[in-house]
């Protein structure tokens, strides 16, 4: 029994309940204070994560190691930025209820549990805790029909994905006799050893998790939910949960099922190619920027899966670096989208950005940086993420995958750069309202990170490599 290994999660969960009680008892509307406390709780938890030790606790259910630390810090950063971008929007749209930050916090606890899962059961409970909170958050603007629709759609399809995941877990347990990652990797030491049942179970688990990262055959919910959910929720949904689910896929496939590489590799390759293609092609015709970001995130998850498909520490390192760059450019872009507000009303059309450079050069510049970065143009961080991913694929001789990846990112560059064209070369539309400081802060933080990533890429790379090596033992 090792209580200390989950200390960050315990502290965060207790803080969440304390904030909940505070919000209920507070005489006035406690939204802003509750948000501040939540941010403080995230920062304290991040410090605890950094001071954590490598250990396997709770009868082998929970593992705290370099990989989980890396992922948790990224999740906490994404969640903190998610709370900050929600501050202003919630007050404008009359959804300033203290439950909002509490739900983000509890969802973060679930994600941290996912990052540390060392057993299929803790994996499942982490996924559920994360998802259930996000279902509620997606429907948080309950008087808005589209928000309610987004919540319901996400909930129903998410329940289906949970069913697939559970079915896969039960098959793996039934055919291998254990749910513990350590036991599984000790038992499944060669591809020939695994029975068909285990393979089918792995396929179902991958399907369930692919739904959470919105990879292609399981992406249908993404555009509608992204568009319908309140924008700060979309910003949160597009970053932290993707990181957690991707980390879980990495830990699962490269950990206990590492020797079944031949079985799952083709599956991941297929999903990656389909995601990259759909992400770059379907986004071209979009007029709503939130829908565009949905297709963009599908494409990005496809690139991240390329690194996983390589099946090497180098590939996992690429995935982790890709996730780091993805989180910061995504949250920065959403900060800019949230600042699109005209006469107090939020606008979401790409056409609304017309001539932004003439009315608000700062915002246009930051948004242009994010778009260049997402398109993968050097020296921005998005380029480095793609570089490490394709490098890993090429090292493994997966030329076809790498070439398709490069081609789709060229196609994708079209719609990213079209936004820049709209902002800089179209006739100016009416100016947006003044930006609140919180959104400027997040946009600048994300922009600085994206621009200056190459300056501090070495320590991130070293940390990612150390984390990746933990998975491969």
């Amino acid at each position: 029994m090792n209580w200390i290994s989950a200390l960050p999660e315990l502290v965060l969960a207790c803080a969440g309940m304390a904030i909940l009680v505070f919000g209920v008892l507070a005489p006035k509307n406690a939204f802003r204070l509750a948000s501040m406390f939540t941010i403080a709780a995230f920062l304290i938890t991040a410090m605890l994560v950094m001071g954590g030790t490598t250990s396997l606790g709770y009868s082998g259910l929970f593992s705290s190691d370099a990989f989980s630390q890396f992922v948790k810090l990224l999740i906490l950063a994404a969640a903190t930025l998610g709370v900050i971008v929600s501050l202003d929007y919630s007050e404008h749209e009359n959804m300033q209820r203290f439950e909002f930050p509490v739900l983000i916090l509890l969802s973060t606890v679930g994600m941290m549990l996912m990052a540390s899962a060392a057993n299929l059961m803790s994996l499942y409970l982490g996924v559920e805790l994360m998802s259930l909170s996000i279902y509620v958050l997606a429907a948080f603007a309950r008087d808005n029909l589209r928000s309610a629709e987004a919540g319901l759609k996400y909930f129903v399809l998410g329940a289906l994905a949970s069913g697939l995941l559970l079915y896969g877990i039960s098959l793996v347990y039934g055919f291998s006799g254990s749910m513990n990652f350590a036991d599984l990797s000790a038992e499944l030491t060669s591809a020939s050893q695994a029975s068909t049942g285990v393979t089918i179970g792995v396929v179902f688990i991958v399907a369930g998790l692919a739904f959470k990262v919105s990879a292609v055959p399981f992406h249908m919910w993404t555009p509608d939910v992204y568009e319908g959910a309140p924008t700060p929720v979309t910003a949160f949904m597009g970053t932290a949960p993707k990181v957690a689910a991707m980390a879980l896929l990495v830990r699962l496939l490269s950990g206990p099922f590492a020797h079944l590489l031949a079985q799952w590799q083709q599956l991941i390759v297929l999903v990656a190619i389909a995601s990259m293609l759909l992400g770059s092609l379907a986004a071209i015709g979009q007029k709503n920027i939130k829908r565009l970001m949905a297709y963009s995130s599908i494409g990005h998850m496809g690139y991240a899966l390329v690194g996983l498909a390589a099946g090497t520490p180098l590939g996992v390192k690429g995935v982790l670096i890709y996730l780091v760059t993805y989180v910061f450019m995504n949250v920065g872009t959403f900060a800019c989208i949230l600042a699109m507000r005209r006469r107090g009303r939020a606008v979401e059309g790409i056409a609304d950005l017309a001539g932004l450079a003439k009315t608000d050069l700062g915002m246009a510049l930051w948004l242009a940086i994010f778009m260049f970065s997402m398109a993968g143009i050097p020296p921005f961080s998005g380029f480095w993420g793609k570089l490490f991913i394709f490098q890993a694929a090429v090292t493994q001789g997966m030329w076809v995958l790498a070439v398709i990846g490069v081609l789709t990112s060229v196609i994708g560059a079209y719609y990213y750069i079209r936004i820049i064209k709209v902002m800089f070369f179209d006739d100016a539309a009416e100016a947006f309202d003044a930006r609140p400081a919180s959104l400027s802060f997040v946009a600048v933080a994300g922009g600085l990170f994206t621009t200056g990533f190459f300056l501090f890429a070495a320590p991130v790379e070293a940390a990612a490599l150390a984390a990746a090596k933990v998975i491969f033992g």
Binding site: A6, A13, L61, F62, E99, L103, L106, S107, S122
Partner: protein, 230 residues
């Protein structure tokens, strides 16, 4: 001998009451038979040595679930005779499907063979010296404490979600603010009225409501100085 007798007694009542659950005409009777079958199932668990499961069955299923069913049946007022109207018409189809399923089950169980070495694994390796309540407690609260607490958090999220998405503060709803009621002074709402000397004081004449006159007896009551019940 007695254990066998008890087993057949409880099992027999269980089967009969389970059959009554689906055949009883009155839905309330059906739920009551369901409760009876729960009790008998609990007794069977006791005979098998699983006293914890027996108690849980009584507490959770009889105490909560069945009573909930009873309330639902009473409140929904479903017309069950109407539901049964198509029974005759659909009987042939239903019976055919039932027979097919039964045949499949027979085939499955007929071809069922137990793997040679599986006898040794048939029972979970439990320590007979430790009673099963303690064993379940060990698993739930020691081995799987993390999962137990995580499930608790999931239920908390479900509760928060239900409240956030449905609870509305209507403008028309009436709230009782106790502190306001207690702090209310007679002078806030009542005025002194001059009375003609020597003419006697009518019972409702010295303190009056400030604005709209309320019913006389109430004003008289307020005048005694504890006007706290508005």
């Amino acid at each position: 001998m007695i254990a066998t007798l008890a087993f057949y007694l409880f099992a027999g009542i269980l089967l009969v009451s389970a059959a009554m659950v689906v055949s009883a005409r009155n839905p309330v009777h059906a739920v009551l038979f369901l409760i009876l079958s729960f009790f008998n199932a609990a007794a069977l668990f006791l005979l098998a040595g699983a006293e914890f499961l027996a108690m849980i069955l009584v507490i959770v299923y009889v105490g909560a679930v069945a009573v909930l069913f009873l309330f639902v049946v009473m409140m929904l007022d479903i017309n069950f005779t109407q539901l049964r109207e198509g029974f005759q018409r659909y009987l042939p189809v239903g019976a055919t499907i039932g027979v097919v399923l039964l045949a499949e089950l027979v085939i499955v169980f007929g071809g069922w063979r137990i793997a040679p070495g599986s006898d040794a694994h048939r029972f979970a390796p439990i320590d007979v010296a430790v009673e099963n309540t303690r064993q379940i407690g060990n698993i739930l609260y020691t081995d799987y404490i993390l999962l137990f607490q995580a499930s608790g958090l999931i239920l908390l999220v479900a509760m928060i979600g239900a409240i956030v998405l449905t609870l509305r503060d209507r403008k028309t709803s009436l709230h009782q603010v106790v502190s306001k009621q207690v702090a209310r002074m007679p002078a806030d709402t009542l005025v002194m009225v001059d009375v003609i000397r020597g003419a006697g004081v009518p019972a409702d004449h010295y303190l009056r409501p400030k604005v709209a006159p309320v019913a006389a007896p109430e004003a008289a009551h307020d005048s005694h100085g504890h006007g706290g019940h508005h």
